[in-house]
Amino acid sequence: MDKKATIQSIRNQDERVVQRIYGEFKPKFVNWLKGKYKIGEPEACNEIYQRSFTVLFFNIKRGKLDNLEASLETYLFGIGKMIVREWWRERSKDKNTLDIEENNELGQIDLLANAFKGNEIDDDRRRKLGLAVQAMGDPCKSILTLFYWERNSMEAIAAKTGYKNEQGAKKKKYLCLEKLRKQLLN
């Protein structure tokens, strides 16, 4: 499968392709972490790889890599360098940054820093929220996932969910947010 086809499959969230790529890049990436950055703990290597791959996935999903010139692997390792820097910064007392040369194509990358911030309690809260959205009936589930996860405009959401116009879909979104908030408070 060539690069464009792989990127398209990942954008379409083809689980088999995503899982294959995840497994394919991992051994080399982990060996690279050990060899280049002397990060020996398997848990740390795993965490850095998972973060890097997650960043790769979401940047593809959000259409930021449609015109990628480098190979996916090179790009993933470029992300890896930045994640290692963040990872070290989180753990270092002096908060010094590492002098890591960055690939130009990485300039606009979203490192999803907020999603990786926090602790297990924060992750649990997000898990509950995600599950609550999935458990909502339609149209709430569709409206919220299309808006917050698929990044559709309200105009596009109105068209996809059968609302007459953007305003109608927006009103429904507010009601869905309120419903979700109440569900989580109970």
Binding site: Q19, R20, Y22, G23, E24, K26, P27, K28, V30, N31, W32, K34, G35, K36, K38, G40, P42, N46, Q50, R51, F53, T54, F57, F58, S71, E73, T74, F77, D99, I100, E101, N103, L112, N114, A115, F116, D123, R125, R126, R127, L129, G130, V133, L144, Y148, W149, K170, K173, Y174, L177, E178, L180, R181, L184, L185
Partner: protein, 238 residues
């Protein structure tokens, strides 16, 4: 997560940039003056951010599940190359070698290559899927470099194949062919770039092109894993 339902529309309109200039100003003044309003707004922002991040957390959880199922299906999966140990052993070997040579005089170039070269591990392990390079890599790991070369040469456009082609030639002391392969690898900045730079210098050295070796070693940047090795070898050559 405590934000009032009545404010959702207003908060959303503000965050989506849908308020008029006057409305926006009024909103921001209220944010500055009304701490309860500000707290509710921040709670809404946090709620929305959590909603966005929930997808990321779910995806990362899925990766963990894949890892677990992979471990269960394949407990002896993937070689983890103990690079640190290899590096330590190689360093000790180099120190011993140089110490012995110190007693008997300056080594010739091929001896220096032998002291500094170790075929790079196969890190292209692919689990559960056979790819075209696997046959070559198997030969390479077995030390069957001639057979590996025949296979790697079938992939002139593949930077990974070119790197292991260079490694195979260098292991056989075929320095001209190694030079060609490493130069090809160095056309792009892949993950083998740093090791290819160092082994390019060794290939020059094997060919008794000390000038080429020195220039290549001197060009190795401080950030490279091979910087200190390059500096040591440069010292040997001076």
């Amino acid at each position: 997560m405590d934000f009032n339902a009545e404010y959702i529309e207003l908060f959303d309109a503000y965050l989506q940039g849908e308020l008029s200039i006057e409305e926006r100003l009024t909103f921001e003044v209220r944010l500055s003056n009304d701490s309860t309003f500000k707290a509710k707004f921040e709670a809404f922002q946090g709620f929305e951010q959590d909603l966005v991040d929930a997808e990321v957390t779910a995806f990362k959880d899925r990766l963990t599940q894949w890892d677990k199922s992979q471990d269960k299906n394949n407990p002896k999966q993937g070689r983890v190359i103990p690079i640190r140990l290899i590096g330590l052993a190689a360093s000790i070997a180099v120190i011993l070698f140089i110490s012995i040579l110190y007693l008997v005089g300056r080594p010739n170039n091929q001896d220096l290559v032998a002291a500094n070269f170790e075929p790079y591990d196969n890190i292209l392990t692919v689990r559960g899927e056979k790819v075209a390079l696997d046959d070559g890599l198997q030969q390479y790991e077995a030390g069957e470099y001639e057979a590996a070369i025949v296979i790697f040469e079938q992939f002139p456009e593949n930077v990974n194949a070119q790197f292991y082609l260079g490694e195979s030639h260098l292991a056989l002391q075929e320095f001209d062919a190694a030079l060609t392969a490493y130069k090809s690898v160095l056309q792009t900045t892949g993950i083998f770039y740093e090791i290819a730079e160092f082994h390019l210098a060794l290939s020059y050295l094997g060919n008794d092109d000390e000038q080429g070796a020195k220039e290549t070693l001197a060009a190795i940047q401080k950030e490279s894993d091979y910087y200190s090795k390059a500096q040591d070898l440069l010292g040997e050559l001076e």
